[in-house]
């Protein structure tokens, strides 16, 4: 592990209440009405992933936000833009990997998930994006027991 923290003093944001799901118009009474996948649902999956270097969730660190998630249920597409806490964050790829694994487990296989860092939020933006959306490299990463271990640790908190 890195001896020095990359971002030793992150800004912590408050965790939004989960209750906001209730504000949505309920279609509970209607058995046939489909509730489409939406940004809130995707966000619910990934908000509680722990940051690799701080004991805070991605939501608290404002790495992910509901606004930065694009969902197209019909077209089976999900796009996520996340914002590393600092420009030179070397954990960006790991964070991206965590998000990908989490969604791999949570979404039906029909979805194609694109994960990118928010434009301008990272020094080597292009490289990170390329790495995150390369199937081969993701698969290779998931073969690495050390990496998988780290990913699992990050995901543990979001799977309670």
């Amino acid at each position: 592990m890195a001896v020095e923290l990359i971002n030793p003093n992150p800004v912590i944001h408050e965790r939004k209440s989960k209750a906001h799901r209730l504000d949505l118009p309920s279609v509970h009474g209607d058995e046939d009405a489909a509730e489409e996948f939406d940004a809130t649902e995707i966000f619910d999956h990934i908000r509680d992933i722990t940051d690799p270097e701080h004991p805070y969730s991605l939501e608290q660190l404002n790495v992910v936000s509901e606004e930065a998630i694009m969902v197209d249920d019909k077209g089976s597409k999900v796009g996520i833009k996340f914002t590393p806490t600092v420009q030179h964050c070397s954990m960006a790829t790991l964070i991206g990997l965590c998000i990908r694994v989490k969604l791999l487990r949570s979404l039906p296989p029909r979805f194609k998930v694109d994960i990118n860092v928010a434009p301008g939020s990272h020094a080597s933006e292009a490289a990170v994006n390329k790495q995150l959306n390369d199937k081969e490299r993701v698969a290779a990463a998931l073969e690495n027991p050390h990496l998988v271990d780290m990913v699992e640790k990050c995901l543990a908190s979001s799977e309670q």
Binding site: E31, E41, H45, P109, E159
Partner: protein, 1461 residues
């Protein structure tokens, strides 16, 4: 003796093990107790060891002596002995090896009481000196230190004079002993020493204490705040809390500590640790309480320190208009600070007593705090109302305030303008406003904390705040918040009686504090301000939001608090302040302009305020009398509290004028009635008046009808249940019932009240009735029965509704009296045949209620035992028969007369009396006559059939014959139950058709025989249902009652109206014959009653084959099954064995229907025609034969006498003659069958007490069996029911050939499971589980196939699924059984994850899968692929909740794989 010597040697020998020592000591102690050995003797024998040079032996010897003294605290000792012992131990205290013995011995001596020879004071002084001088406590072991402290404690508590004699030395010694102590046990004692020692000196030499106070304080102050973490394996059981409390007490021991302790607390308050702050505040509170005015010197610093906790710096800053984040503050600390402040103020109340000008210094510090001034300066920017307007206005209308209408009607242009200007000028700086309000909140908390400390501080605060408001010239949020909080504080002060400190001084009379005392002269002004603000709000149009609304909300709070203050003595009667407050609140309540249908929040708040005023102070134990149960309840407090009546007086008038919308006024009624029991009566009366008003219009307008329903519901739910059995309550309830009955009775004939109204009325009636006492119930039953039957001829059966409601509510004893055979028949007919669904429902519940409360013992036996009952069960009947002629008939004899005679006759000539299926109505009536009424000699014009009966029946009018009867037939025999009247009750509805009976047959027989006037409707064979008040009264009245109650007539009428046109009716008054039906006195035991209900009426209705369904009429069968279910519930509740019959019959029905369904799929039912063509051969018999064999066996055990009744039933069976028979059709009505099956399945839910279906059409009445309606419910009845039903169910399932056939059974089972507690299910898990799994798959699969009712199975699937889940999560045997069936469980669940009809089912299935993953790994693991496949589908479920569960489930099942691989 020698033996004892040996023991002594053993004990003294330090080499020997502990057990030997203990044994020796025990034996020596025994010897001393038995006086075989005296203490001097012991000392003598120990002489050598006590003085030896050997330390070990000397120590043991000393311990022996001490041990013996300690062991005999109750054995008297001589003074000389005690003296020498004391001297000895005191000297040994200096001898280190003997120390423990010496301490133990000293302690034992010090503890001795005078009765057995106590220590002389001089000896105590010697010991005290020795302990203080020779024992260096802190160098000892913990055990010895503890002993030393105990010695000191005993000295202080038992020998204070010895302590005083030592003066300062004792305190010095104490300090030295405690100094540096670390052991928690010792510390607890040490704190206690410091706590109690000063008390000795305060009464003796306080100067000495004053000198030593600082040192004494210092020695314990070092422990503050306590920091203590018990070791992990601590066994001493001392917690930090114990230490904290002990230390607090020690610190609060004497006011002399004040100069040292207060600075300490103030310093520790500055700590950043929350626990330190809390401890300081707590200690401060405790100390303030005990120090009293000693804290006066510290008020300045004290306030500064407390202020930091109460008003954090940034709040102060923001109150001055600056903006900064409000720091997080622990609520706990805040609360503690408030309490501490209150206590400090209270402690200082004594200061300056006798000199009124000198006020409480701490209050002064608070009020003169500059930030309070800043708060008001900062508040100038907010919306405010000029004070002059408010007060001037108030001043003008002091006299007019009693009339709020006037105020509303007058617009106030000046005020209006001012407020609008202010509103527009108000800065819309929401953040600044929020901060300012935060500061106001904190400050109002501080001021109310100060104000609750006592009447003096409260007045002071009131004056100061009013002065501020006055000088500001206007009142806005800040001022109003402070004022309303102040009023609230004043109320708290008065209610909690905390003003006692000042009361003692002012020489109060023990009366509570009043408004004058707590608020000075400001109460009036406060009231005016609050009222003025409310008026301003009203003048603005009562806007439900905005700043003015905030102000009005505060004002309502204030008014509520003010109105709750007791008035000064001079105004105790009128209490103008409260009157004003209430009238203002009432005017808010009825504010015009607001939406009439949805009251705005302020109106709601005003309502709550009024409720609180009418509720009054919380009940409290009167001080001094510490009796635990003085019976002081809210109601009694309320009686002396006039608030409720005042509020009611103000509200009721306007309510009745209809000033509020209907819904809201009902809410007002309900809230006020809930708040105080005092006005229950008034509320009831007011609601009745309202009902009256509505009822007038009920026929016409739908609206008023729905309002009447609301009123009735409110009465039934909220108001009536509060009434009790005392006389005045009963009177009102009676009045209500009478009025309601009257209203229903006078309902205009042509149409029936609609369902909602009738149901509500019946519900209210039932609730009112169940409150009535037995006597009243009986009387009301009579009244209801009387009124309704007279009107019956012209009108519909709905008029029987009230009687039904009353029957449901009867208390068991009254119910027993009402439980007449004819009543049963009547109810059955109603329930089965009435075309009015609501009435049919009510009738079935009434029937069930009767059966539920039916005395288990035959009434006949009761009659024999209890004269009171017999007087009216049998005797009453016979009395009237005898028409005052002669003697009391013996009940037994009378009964036999009724029951056995006709039977024997019957047996002789069955073909003459028994009617074939082709019987005509007249025949039937005649037979009825013959069987039920053997006393009537109507031989004059009877047709041939009747002759034998007439011939053989003796005339009842002659007393001789009644007396002779008992000798003719033995009084009781084993056969009686078989021959009981039930058998002779007609089992077919048609036979109740007395209406069609030709008059000529009956009429002539009546008049002469009964000795009654010809047209009199009173028949001879009636039954007295009610206790008659006086014997002379009995015959006519009882006759009437019985006649009125004769529901069978009603049933007959129903049948008539349903089946045939009422031709002969007008010429044939129905009062004629049917009474005879039931036999004479109606004493029918439970078994017979059930035989009537079940065997003769209900069970035969059930078809044994689908052919029969067609024949008998689906409609009737559905009805029958419904009634059967309700009756089944009654039986199950009382734990009756015949519950089994009901269950069996229903299971059988389900089985039959299932078979029909299974075979019917498309093929026309041609085969069904012949099989049961001879089906009329015994309805019951058939039912039994049709049962699967094993279940029949199971059930037959419940019913030993089934055969007898059955054979009789067969010969009787008239049902085949029913008109429905004419229908030749044997084709299946599939939808109808399905409905029947559903009803039967739901029946299990009803029996198991499952909530009845929410479908309003189905359970339209609010009537049900419950504890409230006096139905005693046997504990665990659901469990029993379930265990009983399981066998038949599994048997039937086994018999059915395929899943399709089993479907109805599964539905029934699901209903049953739904009503059964999980614990009972778990016990039977083994059997249930397989059934459950099959039924799940079957039900889930069925929904795809069967179109007509796709969704109706979903709730059943869900409830089954929940049961299965509970098995999986259960820790006990259920889970073990589950683990044996893992594959089928998991596969069933997997299938259910795709259940299309209900998302909840899918979700629950996934949850169950999660639970299933915990089952034994080796069985679960192979299934993971199937599960994963299912989850993949579920991940894309249309419902979010399901997807979420799927994610969770997937994780669990993935983990299952990875961790074990």
């Amino acid at each position: 003796m020698a033996d004892l010597q040996a023991r002594v040697q053993e004990f003294v020998n330090p080499e020997l093990p502990g057990e030997v020592h203990n044994a020796a000591l025990t034996e020596i102690l025994d010897a001393v107790r038995q006086e075989r050995l005296s203490v001097p003797q012991l000392v003598g024998s120990l002489a050598e060891q006590l003085t030896t040079e050997d330390n070990g032996i000397r120590a043991r010897a000393c311990q022996l002596l001490a041990g013996v003294i300690k062991g005999i605290p109750d054995v008297p000792l001589q003074d000389t002995a005690i003296h020498s012992l004391a001297e000895f131990f005191a000297s040994r205290l200096a001898d280190f090896p003997s120390l423990r013995g010496a301490l133990t011995g000293s302690l034992a001596l010090l503890k001795r009481t005078p009765e057995v020879g106590a220590l002389h004071p001089t000896d105590a002084v010697e010991i005290a000196k020795a302990v203080l001088n020779s024992v260096h406590v802190q160098s000892l072991t913990a055990v010895d230190r503890l002993l030393s402290f105990e010695v000191l404690e005993t000295l202080i508590e038992s020998h204070p004079s010895a302590v005083l004699a030592l003066e300062g030395d004792f305190l010095d010694g104490l300090v030295a002993a405690i100094d540096g102590e670390k052991d928690p046990r010792c510390l607890l004692l040490a704190f206690r020493l410091v706590e109690i020692a000063p008390k000795v000196f305060v009464t003796g030499q306080s100067a000495v204490l004053a000198e030593a106070a600082e040192e004494l304080f210092e020695v314990i102050a070092v422990y503050f705040p306590v920091s203590f973490n018990p070791p992990p394996n601590d066994t001493r059981g001392i917690s930090r809390e114990d230490l904290v409390v002990a230390l607090e007490r020690a610190l609060a021991a004497t006011p002399l500590f004040a100069p040292y302790s207060l600075p300490l607390f103030i310093e520790k308050l500055g700590s950043s640790l929350t626990s330190a702050k809390l401890d300081s505040l707590r200690a401060l509170r405790a100390c303030a309480q005990s120090y009293g005015s000693a804290i006066a010197s510290q008020t300045g610093p004290l306030w500064t320190a407390l202020k930091n906790e109460l008003l954090p710096l940034s709040v102060e800053a923001s109150s001055a208009g600056e903006v900064g984040p409000v720091p997080e503050r622990s609520a706990e600390v805040g609360d503690a600070a408030v309490e501490a402040l209150t206590q400090c103020v209270r402690a200082l109340e004594g200061v300056g007593r006798g000199a009124p000008a000198v006020s409480n210094p701490l209050v002064r510090s608070v009020l003169e705090d500059p930030t309070l001034g800043d708060l008001f300066i900062a508040a100038t920017g907010e919306t405010s109302i000029p004070l002059t307007k408010l007060l001037n206005h108030g001043g003008q209308s002091t006299h007019s305030q009693t009339d709020p209408h006037l105020d509303e009607s007058q617009p106030r242009p000046v005020l209006h303008q001012t407020v609008s200007q202010a509103l527009s000028a108000a800065p819309h700086d929401s953040e600044g406003q929020a901060r300012r309000r935060e500061a106001v909140e904190r400050w109002s908390g501080v001021l109310s904390a100060v104000a609750t400390a006592g009447a003096g501080p409260c007045r002071q605060v009131a004056e100061a705040v009013m002065a501020r408001v006055t000088s500001a010239g206007s009142v806005g949020y800040t001022g109003l918040r402070l004022l309303s909080k102040l009023a609230g504080a004043a109320r708290t002060l008065v209610w909690t009686g905390q003003g006692d400190v000042s009361r003692g001084f002012e020489g109060g009379t023990g009366r509570e504090l009043d408004a004058e005392e707590v608020l000075g002269g400001k109460a009036e002004a406060l009231g005016e301000i609050f009222s003025g603000v409310v008026r301003a709000w009203q003048a603005e149009g009562g806007v439900p939001d905005g700043e003015l609304n905030d102000l009005a909300t505060l004002a309502v709070d204030g008014l509520e608090a003010l109105a709750s203050l007791p008035p000064p003595l001079s105004q105790a009667e009128s209490n103008p302040l409260r009157q004003n407050c209430i009238s203002v609140l009432v005017s808010v309540l009825f504010s015009p302009g607001s939406d009439p249908h949805t009251p705005n929040p302020l109106q709601q708040k005003a309502l709550q305020a009024l409720a609180s005023i009418s509720r009054g102070p919380p009940s409290k134990e009167p001080p001094g009398t510490a009796e635990p149960n003085t019976g002081v309840t809210r109601g009694e407090v309320g009686d002396s509290w006039h608030g409720a009546r005042q509020v009611w007086a103000a509200v009721s008038e306007r309510l009745l004028q209809g000033s509020a919308s209907q819904g809201f006024s009902l809410q007002i009624f309900a809230t006020l009635a809930e708040s105080s029991g005092v006005i229950n009566r008034e509320v009831l009366q007011a609601l009745e008046r309202q009902l009256d008003r509505l009822w007038g219009a009920v026929g016409g307008s739908v609206e008023s009808e729905s309002e009447a329903v609301e009123v009735l519901r409110l009465l039934a739910r909220e108001i009536l249940p509060k009434f009790g059995s005392d006389e005045s309550d009963q009177e009102l309830v009676l009045h209500f019932v009478h009025a309601l009955l009257e209203r229903l009775a006078t309902w205009p004939s042509p149409r029936r009240p609609n369902d909602g109204l009738l149901a509500a009325a019946l519900g209210a009636l039932c609730v009112a009735m169940r409150i009535c006492t037995e006597a009243n119930q009986a009387a009301l039953l009579q009244k209801a029965a009387g009124g309704f039957f007279q009107a019956l001829e012209g009108d519909g059966v709905w008029r029987s509704g009230p009687v039904l409601a009353i029957l449901v509510a009867l208390r068991p004893s009254v119910s027993a009296e009402a439980g007449q055979p004819r009543v049963l028949q009547g109810l059955l007919s109603l329930a089965l045949q009435s075309s009015d669904a609501l009435i049919a429902d009510a009738a079935s519940v009434a029937l069930a209620s009767l059966l539920k409360k039916w005395p288990a013992q035959s009434v006949r036996h009761v009659a024999a035992q209890e004269t009171s009952l017999s007087a009216f069960h049998a005797g009453g009947a016979s009395d009237q028969l005898d028409q005052g002629g002669g003697t009391e008939a013996e009940p037994e004899g009378r009964f036999e007369n009724v029951s056995t005679r006709p039977y024997s006759e019957e047996a002789n000539s069955p073909h003459e009396t028994r009617l074939p299926a082709t019987s005509t109505p007249s025949d039937t009536a005649l037979r009825t006559q013959t069987l039920g009424q053997p006393f009537v000699p109507f031989g004059v014009s009877t047709p041939p059939h009747g002759q034998p009966a007439a011939r053989m029946t003796p005339s009842p009018v002659t007393p001789a014959s009644t007396q002779a009867l008992p000798s003719v037939s033995p009084p009781s025999s084993a056969a009686t139950s078989d021959y009981s009247p039930a058998i002779f009750l007609d089992s077919s509805p048609q036979s109740v058709l007395f209406d069609t009976t030709p008059v000529s047959i009956l009429q002539p027989g009546f008049s002469p025989a009964g000795g009654l006037p010809g047209p009199s409707p009173d028949p001879p064979g009636t039954t007295a249902v009610f206790r008659a008040p006086s014997p002379g009264d009995i015959p006519p009245r009882a006759r009437r009652v019985a006649q009125r109650l004769d529901l069978s007539r009603l049933g007959g009428a129903v049948a008539a109206s349903n089946t045939a046109p009422r031709g002969p009716e007008p010429t044939n008054p129905p009062e004629r014959s049917p009474q005879k039906l039931a036999g004479g006195d109606g004493s029918l035991d439970l078994e017979s009653a059930l035989r009537v209900v079940l065997d003769e009426r209900l069970l035969p209705l059930l078809p044994e084959s689908t052919t029969e369904t067609g024949q008998k009429g689906l409609e009737a069968q559905i009805r029958g099954v419904r009634v059967l279910a309700v009756v089944g519930q009654a039986l199950a509740m009382r734990g009756h064995k015949r519950t089994g019959d009901v269950v069996g019959a229903l299971v059988q029905l389900l089985f039959t229907l299932g078979k029909a369904h299974g075979t019917a799929g498309g093929v026309n039912a041609s085969s069904g025609g012949s099989g049961k063509a001879d089906g009329r051969g015994g309805p019951g018999e058939g039912a039994r034969n049709g049962m699967p064999r094993v279940s029949a066996a199971t059930l037959s055990s419940f019913q030993p006498e089934a055969h007898t009744s059955r054979s009789t039933g067969e010969s009787l069976s008239p049902s085949a003659g029913s008109p429905q028979d004419d229908q030749p059709s044997a084709s299946y009505d599939l939808a109808g069958l399905a409905q029947l099956a559903d009803v039967a399945a739901e029946g299990f839910g009803v029996i198991a007490g499952e909530r009845r279906s929410s479908n309003p059409a189905e359970s339209s009445t609010d009537l049900n069996l419950s504890k409230e309606t006096h139905a005693q419910i046997k504990p665990l009845y659901r469990q029993r029911l379930f265990t009983m039903s399981l066998g038949p169910f599994s048997e039937a399932v086994r018999k059915a050939k395929n899943p399709e056939e089993r479907l109805p059974l599964y539905r029934g089972l699901a209903h049953l499971l739904r009503g059964t507690p999980p614990a009972a299910l778990a016990v039977e898990a083994e059997k249930v589980l397989l059934l459950l799994l099959e039924s799940l798959s079957a039900l889930a699969a069925s929904s795809d196939v069967r179109a007509p009712r796709p969704a109706s199975d979903a709730p059943l699937v869900l409830s089954d699924l929940l049961t299965l889940t509970s098995f999986l999560t259960d820790g006990g045997p259920a889970r073990e059984h589950a683990s044996e069936h893992v594959p089928s469980i998991v596969r069933t669940l997997v299938r259910l994850t795709a259940y299309g009809l209900s998302a909840s089912v899918r979700e629950t299935a996934l949850q169950a899968l999660v639970a299933a993953a915990d089952l034994p790994f080796t069985r679960v693991y192979p299934l993971r692929n199937e599960v994963h496949k299912a989850i993949l589908g579920a991940l894309d479920d249309p419902k979010r909740a399901v997807r979420k569960e799927a994610v969770r489930c997937r994780r669990v099942w993935t983990a299952l794989g990875s961790s074990k691989k």
